[in-house]
């Protein structure tokens, strides 16, 4: 490989990491508290939930799908989990209920997409409304308080490491492993990259898409448990706008909305970029309405960048421009 190619690869591989480092430098100059252990640990805890959702989102976007229902399903799963805990006092049971509920919702998503050929955008938008409605119906819009030991999932720690961060690491490694080292991962990349070619190569499209949604369901369920535990309550209205944060993180992390491209590592970095930006804006007391505008602008820019590099690729496909895209996962 030529040196210039290597440089291109390195830039593509680490470019997004450089952005994060740059953000860290700017942030520490803006606010001396930024680099404190306390603040950094705080950022990690804050981003843990959206990062876990973003891992699911990455797996889905890679295979040409997406999930808009994860915020609402997170609320439904977390709420039922809290409720079961209050009834039985069993942490294990509560944990399993959250996962089962979220997986069921995502199996429905998957069925809509695979069996009934609904576009994932519409299918999960419908699920978003249904899951939110179900959560509100269950408690008649009321919050559940006094959740006792349930807080261990989101506020506890093991060997001094906060539990949300442990979940984040485990799920991140799991995502990396699935994408990089399994048949499922390869199949998902192929499906998202060119579904018709994947069919013609003997890849079972529906089975793999279903698996992607089920994995996403597990992640959403766990995120639901952490969320309710962190806010000390069962909130049927919780998790609103999380689908947006998760999508933003995934795309800023280099996942291509056209499918076939994306990594677990990139997703973590993307999520931390989003989290750090939020943190900086909060520490600098930026007006919260303005923050919303900035967040919207960021995702628009990320998608524009993605489309731009995609166009470069189309040209390279025709042999006009030599672009060596980073293909490592």
């Amino acid at each position: 490989m030529k040196l210039s190619d290597r440089f291109m690869k390195a830039r593509q591989k680490y470019g997004i990491l450089l952005v994060l480092i740059l953000l860290f430098i700017i942030a520490s100059l803006l606010n001396s508290n930024f680099l404190s252990v306390r603040n950094l640990s705080n950022i990690s805890k804050q981003v843990s939930i959206t990062t876990i959702l973003a891992f699911g989102e990455t797996i889905l976007i890679i295979s040409g799908m997406l999930d808009l229902s994860n915020g609402a399903v997170l609320a439904l799963a977390g709420l039922l989990s809290v409720s079961v805990f209050k009834m039985t006092g069993s942490l294990l049971l509560a944990f399993l209920v959250a996962i089962i509920v979220a997986v069921i919702c995502n199996i429905i998503n998957g069925l809509m997409v695979t069996k009934f050929k609904t576009p994932p955008f519409i299918a999960t938008l419908a699920m978003m409304a249904m899951a939110r409605g179900a959560a509100l119906l269950y408690t008649n819009g009321q919050n559940i308080y006094q959740i006792g030991d349930y807080t261990v999932f989101g506020q506890g720690s093991i060997f001094g490491i906060p539990t949300p961060i442990i979940f984040l690491i485990v799920i991140g490694l799991f995502t990396w492993y699935i994408l990089k080292h399994t048949r499922l991962g390869r199949s998902l990349y192929a499906i998202g990259g060119n579904e018709e070619a994947a069919v013609a190569s003997g890849v079972n499209i529906n089975k793999n898409k279903m698996k992607a949604y089920i994995i996403n369901g597990v992640f959403v369920g766990i995120a639901g448990v952490i969320f309710m535990s962190r806010v000390n309550a069962g909130l049927p209205n919780g998790g609103q706008g999380f689908e947006f944060e998760a999508l933003t993180s995934s795309i800023i992390g280099g996942t291509s909305f056209s499918g076939g491209i994306g990594t677990a590592g990139g997703t973590v970095i993307g999520a931390f970029i989003v989290g750090t930006l939020n943190n900086i804006m909060n520490l600098s007391a930026v007006n919260s309405y303005l923050q919303q505008i900035i967040r919207g602008a960021i995702i628009a820019l990320a998608v524009i960048y993605d489309t731009y590099s995609k166009n470069m690729k189309v040209k390279s496909e025709k042999g006009e421009v030599e672009v060596d895209e980073n293909s490592n996962s």
Binding site: V323, E325, S327
Partner: protein
Amino acid sequence: MAKDIKLRIENINKSFPGVKALDDINFSVKKGSVHVLCGENGAGKSTLMKIINGIYNQDSGNIYVDNELVDINSPVEAQKHGISMIFQELNFVPEMTVEENFVAGRWPTNKLGKVDWKESREIAKKLLEEEELHYSLDTKLKNLSISDIQLLEITKAVSYDSDIIIMDEPTSAISEKEIEVLFEKINSLRERGKSIIYISHKMDEIFQIADQITVLRDGKVVATENAENLTEDKVVSLMVGRELSKTFPKEDVEIGKKIFEVNNLNRKGVLKDINFDVHRGEIVGFAGLVGAGRTEVMRALFGLDRFDTGEIKIRGTKAEITNTSDSINNGLVMLSEDRRRYGIVPVRSVKENITISKLEEFIYGGRLHSKEEREVVTNMSDKLNIKTPSIETNVSSLSGGNQQKVILAKWLVNNPDVLLLDEPTRGIDVGAKYEIYKLMVDLAKDGKGIVMVSSELPELIGMCDRIYVMSEGTITGELSRDEFSQEAIMKYAIGSN
């Protein structure tokens, strides 16, 4: 400078990051002539044409139209200088009508900006009459064939008063008969004093229409000659830079047992009573006009399309095929005519594309064994001579021929018994074609059964042991090697039962 020079290209250079695409290009096109530009993929033909058409800017060098220096920065500016380009992959809106297509982008409008449909109809009607085309103005483009649309595009180019018309491999997707119509059109354009730059790989057609031929290799002009001073062999060797011993490396291979048999394959309205067989070591051709149903047969057999009735036997036993994994597991694979759509996953690496259909081979306890995978891919890549910087390179950055080899490699990893190859050499350069022919012969020697669908008769005649001819969804003829001739094939291809 001679007066009859319409377009002159002088010392054009163009570099892309990492490659010098064009190196000091010089040539000129005469008025009322067809100038063929040929060269392997990657030789720089498309880049050069895109510079002339204003899609790219040259790094240095000049373009003269009618001996006047011109500066072209976009296709619209190119049009102002009388240059139009008909692209290899036609871009059109399927829902547009013939009329709308003609006036798109230059709608006659009234003062308020409302489109004057009455006038636009007049314009379109006049154009069709002038060019002697007989389409209804209200026909939607999606209901026309590729060759019809090509003729419309050419008509459109003429209507823009273009004196220079660039055609990029216009025959790659149309049938022999349609090619004749196209050539008549080109001849009439030439008589009217238009200059045509015609890009092609196909030797027989190049010599049918060329007045001058310019051969490009590795971004340089290696020859510009009058067509009568060149021969096919000479052009091919100029293109590849070496003499090819034979165009078709066909060898006599011992024909073995029957390995693949299709009985009474039917699909209502598409396929009727398809019966054929393939033996070990045999290359069986499928000829026919575009739309005769050859691709449909292959797709049905491979499990991509359903069929109503029919029996498929592989190695003498009946095979139930309902989807592609059934056929792959039965040792039956298909290379699609549409490489981009059904062949490659462009954004993924050569490695991933090659192993996608056989991943279970590399999995131990749920984990991909990447070292073994790399070994297999590297071996396959060496065997098929895939030219790629690394096996981690994205398939999209390879040339067409190498992409085709990647797809073949994917199937060879499965070690199939029967290979259905639908237009295996379409759109790839001469050197890669030869390598694919060679590979087919090697596979036949290994006792595999090969089906080759092709619209290029010389290729079928040169490579096959037997040829079936299809017309209107059914097999109308079967020819053995000693009966092969273009005339015999065409007779069956046109006349249906």
